[in-house]
Amino acid sequence: MNRELKRVSIVVLLMFIALLSSTSIVQAFQADNLSADPRNTRTLYDSYQVERGAILVAGEPIAQSLPADDDYKFLRTYTNPELYAPITGYIPINGEPTGLEFALNAEMTGTSNSQFFDKISALVTGQDPKGAAVEVTIDPVAQQAAWDALGDYTGSVVVTEPATGRILAMVSKPSFNLNLLTVHNNKEVTASYEALLADDNNPLINRAINSLNPPGSIFKLVVTTAALESGDYTPESTFPNPAVYTAPGTTSKIENSSGQPCGTGDTVTLATALRLSCNIPFAELGVKLGDTAIRETAEKFGFNKSYSIPMTVAESVYPNGLDDPQTAQSAFGQFDVQATPLQMAMVSAAIANGGVVMAPTLVQEILAPNLSAIQTFEPAEMGRVMSEKTAATLTGMMINGVQDGAASNARIDGVDVAGKTGTAQNGSTDPFTLWFTGFAPATDPQYAITVLIEDGGGMEQSGFGNLLAAPVAKAVLEAVLNK
């Protein structure tokens, strides 16, 4: 039996050699790659051990690491956490890290490549490693005004600076208290996190960049851009004006929201159709333009594209391969067209900026611990969507929409506001999605704003954009213009 025993001993030895090799491979040779894996939360949590840089709004910290007397050394503390939750995000002990905290983790912990020499010098001088601070583009007045104006609605407000792409306000409601998720107590954090996850209103979602809704009538701005840029249409181009329209190749009927023709007369101009936000002329226009032309324009604005601010923004969608009835629906922002509030803010901002889309961003400056700037904001163009002439024409049309049209509740005395409202359907019975997008002052645009109200603003299918969303935009614009 001993001969067999010897052989089995060798097998056992081989089994252990296999284990010794496999652990060596994982712990010695693959260790660096595994540590660099973005899913490796251990690397993230290590970042708690260093003094993370602060996140600053107008020089005041909204997130900072305060000394803590536990093994994490520092406790991340948020000032006005509900107001700024969509901007800062958080790195919880468990759960998904989000926001700038996640996107700029390397910079704020001092481990980014640009801070390599700082790391070396910290090593030599024996100082504790310290991360860089991030100054954001947020204007505290705009942010607070947007928060107040949105009230108890579920939704979002985004304000940008058309000429630069700087995001001046980004509010998402309902929000939550970030400080609940950063305490150094696993059980408490888990309980808070689970409660937030279970909340039907999804407070953890940053609606400004991650909530996709049908844009409804505000998408008509994109279609109008495509029409004017094609050279075949002017604001005075006319369309047949029936009370009910049936797109070629289908029997399903499209109506204007009034259920009536668009104004009086057998035909209606493009300008009137946009001003009164009629669906039928746009459905007709959409079919004539074709889905390809609309998609190309939408993509120039940023649809079907992924970009980051530096958080990754959910891709707004204009679908591929639409037939005529679908194109007709898409021309007034229905069918499968979907957009984030930030994307719609970029549409308004591009019109306000003479046709050029600026890359949106939240980062004004990244400051090393010695206050030298590691990175300073430079405006960056994403591309030209339309000619200056088209932009000027559209601006005029949007001013009319506020002065004398469907967006009348955004009117501000003494200031020209350009705007467009939207009331989008979500299936036949679900509450509407309400929108406003626009900019002011229309003659010298300083602020582009988009308001999203989800869940019908609590009014099921009886609310509409001009009733609920336009007043929110008006309040915010008044606050920033009277600053």
Binding site: M1, V8, M15, F16, V26, A31, L34, R42, D71
Partner: protein, 463 residues
């Protein structure tokens, strides 16, 4: 000289006192010395966990640990009386592994902020005490391992009953998909399969010693190897069917692999026929392949193993999340580890049982893992030594079977964590949280000690 007369010779009043006089208990003294080192390591581990994770020393667990040390020393004293020539390394190795396990479980309790009876470390300590007591009982009751030979078939029956106990409705409990637990009301749960592995090892040893001749019969020659007669395939098919039913009904790959591997090795040792191994491996691989095609959970295990880092597999329900988190933990540990209490093993799911080796790897590093593997290897080697030196085939087979079961269990679970093989749920012997596993492994310790004592006590027979 026959075995019976040798026994008699040993029992005569003349030889017994003489041997006692002339042989000071060198082995036991060595064991005591090693035990003291083991207890020192264990106490240091708990204190280091407290310093690392709490920053202060809390005496509760140190006291509980001291209680365990007293019990282990008690076991040592028992050995001085009833198995004075038993192997001096087995007990210290089991002690230090058990202690390191408790320290790591305690460390994870701290991370999860469990205390009192909630604390897995407290439960583990109590179970360790029970396990060491059962080892003492086994040593006191079984004075001669050949008693076990007499009850071969009872052990076989017991093994199968224990194995399938969890399938009884009302008694069985399902934990994370595998139905291998039993519970009484809300009362403590137990994995009878752990005890079954000992009963089956005894049964296999007894059965194979009795039937080795017919099983060694040669049949036709095929592909250069002599294969057994068709009619002798019965036993291996029965064990194979048993393993397959564990895979299908209890959804437990690891246990099936463990039992089948154990049987195969003992069958090979008893008969010396390599063809059994070939037949057995093809049967098991065939069965496993079939299972991976038809059973979702087996298929999932294979996908997780082969493509662990793929984001889709990682995100999937029942995907490789745990496996990859374990790897992240090991990677974090690197060569020297973060130190006791300084890592984040709690991020990985079940860091105190199936994944305790990853937790240890994170905090003790590759160096710590090597030390632990070396301890296991030494433990197994001591078991094999009994096999080499033993005189009776039953004792030899039993010793090697028990040692091999520990080795195979280490390989299956640690190999699963480090992606040598697909991950299957099994406890890491002595280390992992789990009462039934501790009791079973300490009974193995007792049996190996008993067997090693017999080996040294028996005068060399003519071989």
């Amino acid at each position: 000289m026959s075995k019976a007369s040798a026994q008699q010779a040993r029992q005569t009043p003349v030889t017994q006192p003489v041997r006692r006089l002339h042989l000071p208990q060198k082995l036991r003294n060595l064991e005591l010395f090693l035990l003291l080192i083991a207890c020192f390591i264990n106490a240091s581990a708990v204190v280091l966990v407290q310093l690392g994770a709490l920053g202060e020393i809390d005496t509760t667990l140190v006291l509980l640990g001291a209680g365990l040390a007293v019990l282990v020393i008690g076991l040592h004293v028992v050995l001085r009386f009833v198995a004075r020539d038993s192997d001096p390394f087995i007990l210290p190795i089991a002690t230090v592994l058990n202690g390191i396990g408790i320290a790591m479980i305690y460390r994870i309790d701290i991370a999860d902020q469990d205390s009192g009876w909630e604390s897995a470390a407290v439960r583990q300590t109590v179970w360790s005490a029970l396990a060491i007591l059962s080892a003492i009982v086994v040593l006191l009751v079984i004075r001669n391992h050949r008693v076990l030979f007499r009850y071969t078939y009872i052990f076989g029956f017991l093994g199968v009953v224990l194995l399938f106990l969890p399938l009884i409705p009302g008694l069985g409990r399902e934990v994370s998909g595998a139905r291998v637990w039993i519970g009484f009301g809300s009362f403590a749960t137990f994995q009878p399969g752990e005890i079954a592995k000992i009963a089956l090892a005894v049964f296999f040893a007894g059965y194979l010693v009795r039937n080795r001749d017919s099983l060694s019969m040669v049949g036709k020659k095929f592909l250069g190897a002599r294969f057994p007669r068709l009619r002798d395939l019965g036993p291996i098919l029965v064990v194979w069917a048993l393993s397959m039913s564990v895979i299908i009904f209890q959804r437990d790959l690891g246990t099936a692999l463990l039992y089948f591997g154990l049987f195969l090795v003992m069958l090979y040792l008893a008969t010396g026929r390599l063809s059994w191994v070939i037949i057995g491996l093809s049967l098991f691989l065939g069965g496993a392949l079939l299972a991976s095609q038809t059973l979702d959970y087996v298929n999932g295990r294979f996908t997780n193993w082969l493509d662990a880092l793929n984001p889709d597999v990682y995100e999937a329900r029942g995907g490789s999340f745990q496996l990859v988190q374990g790897l992240f933990g090991l990677a974090k540990g690197g060569l020297l580890g973060t130190g006791w209490g300084q890592g984040r093993p709690e991020i990985t799911p079940v860091p105190q049982s199936d994944y305790i080796i990853a937790s240890l790897g994170e905090e003790l590093g590759l160096a710590g893992i090597f030390a632990i593997l070396a301890l296991y290897l030494l433990f197994v080697a001591r078991g094999f030594r009994i096999g080499f030196a033993g005189q009776d085939d039953f004792g030899k087979l039993l010793a090697v079977g028990l040692a091999f079961v520990v080795a195979l269990q280490c390989f299956i679970v640690i190999g699963g964590v480090t992606r040598v093989i697909p991950l299957t749920g099994l406890t890491t012997p002595f280390l992992a949280a789990g009462g039934s596993s501790l009791v079973a492994n300490w009974i193995i310790v007792a049996l190996l000690l008993r067997l090693s004592d017999t080996v040294r006590n028996q005068p060399r027979l003519v071989i």
